[in-house]
């Protein structure tokens, strides 16, 4: 629940960001959230920061499987199918 039914503060926005990204804010709250972002440059930048954070986290490497490990697994698979 927000402090007011007509507007939300920046302090509230930073707590609602994740739910907003997830599409889990109730319709009225999502509307207040977007209204706020429409006039508040600071919060628009904060939301962008959160998006950039998610992207940055996603970059933590997807590593390829080392060849030896791959071989061992294939062997295990062949054993299993027998």
């Amino acid at each position: 629940m927000t402090e007011s039914d007509d507007h939300i503060t920046c302090r509230e926005v930073v707590e609602l960001v994740t739910d907003y990204f997830e599409g889990k804010l109730p319709a009225d709250e999502a509307e207040l959230f977007e209204q706020h972002l429409n006039f508040c440059e600071g919060c628009a930048w904060y939301v962008e920061q959160m998006r950039a954070t998610v992207t940055a986290v996603g970059r933590i490497s997807e590593e390829d499987i080392p060849p030896k490990a791959r071989e061992r697994l294939l062997t295990a698979f062949r054993d299993w199918k027998r």
Binding site: R11, G42, Q49, T53, E62, I65, L73, F77
Partner: protein, 219 residues
């Protein structure tokens, strides 16, 4: 949980998965290879939540795959293959990491009433004053930063360190969601946590990482 299973059974992804399972059970090596390849990165990332070193993580992942093979004939498809594989991994990793084989539900692990705000209160105008709750000074506009600032090695190191600092429950959720690319439903099933709880944990984790990035980029 029932909703997830229902959606899974009827989705196009389910049909694809049924085919993959059939090929695996027939002993199709290529199918197995591609399965292993497609999951490797995220399994390592998740394993590293529980064990200290890269090498041990590789071992844990290997062990998990053996567990997958052992259970493959009995797998009924009630959850997605990916969720099932990750659950085996989590259990394997948690056991190896020195905890009990059965992971406790996170709701029982999260400290009650731990309310750390996403941003320190001092960043906002105090209650009772004009424009209460609004930024004292705005956060930075990261869209003006050069590409490398957010993708370079130093930044990645900051992100990794920030994630390592997180309490286990937050670390697991952000790893599975934002590194391993699991859906919210998959995370809830695998970690046995409610959707609401999952979001709270994800929120705290991301907020912490953002703050670390902000400190790094402000320097």
């Amino acid at each position: 949980m029932g909703q997830v299973q229902e959606e899974h059974r009827t989705s196009p992804a389910a049909a694809e998965e049924a085919e993959l399972l059939a090929r695996l059970r027939e002993g199709d090596e290529r199918a197995f290879e591609s399965l292993v390849e497609s999951h490797h990165g995220r399994m390592i990332a998740v394993a590293l939540n529980y064990v200290k070193t890269r090498d041990i993580a590789e071992e844990v992942v290997q062990e998990a795959w053996l567990g997958v093979l052992r259970g493959l004939d009995r797998f009924e498809g009630r959850s997605s293959l990916k969720t099932w594989i990750l659950r085996i991994l989590v259990n394997t990793a948690a056991t190896r990491g020195g905890r009990e084989g059965r992971s406790l539900p996170f709701s029982s692990l999260a400290p009650a009433g731990e309310e750390s705000p996403a941003v320190e209160p001092e960043r906002f105008r105090p209650p009772g004053e004009a424009f209460a709750g609004h930024w004292n000074s705005y956060p930075g506009d990261w869209t003006t930063l050069p590409e490398e600032a957010l993708s370079g090695r130093e930044t990645l190191a900051v992100v990794k360190r920030a994630i390592a600092e997180l309490p286990e429950s937050q670390r697991s959720v952000i790893t599975m969601r934002d590194i391993a690319g699991c859906s919210a439903d998959e995370v809830c099933e695998t970690l046995e946590v409610s959707p609401g709880n999952q979001r709270v944990l994800l929120h705290r984790a991301r907020s912490h990482v953002r703050a670390a990035l902000e400190r790094h980029l402000d320097d």
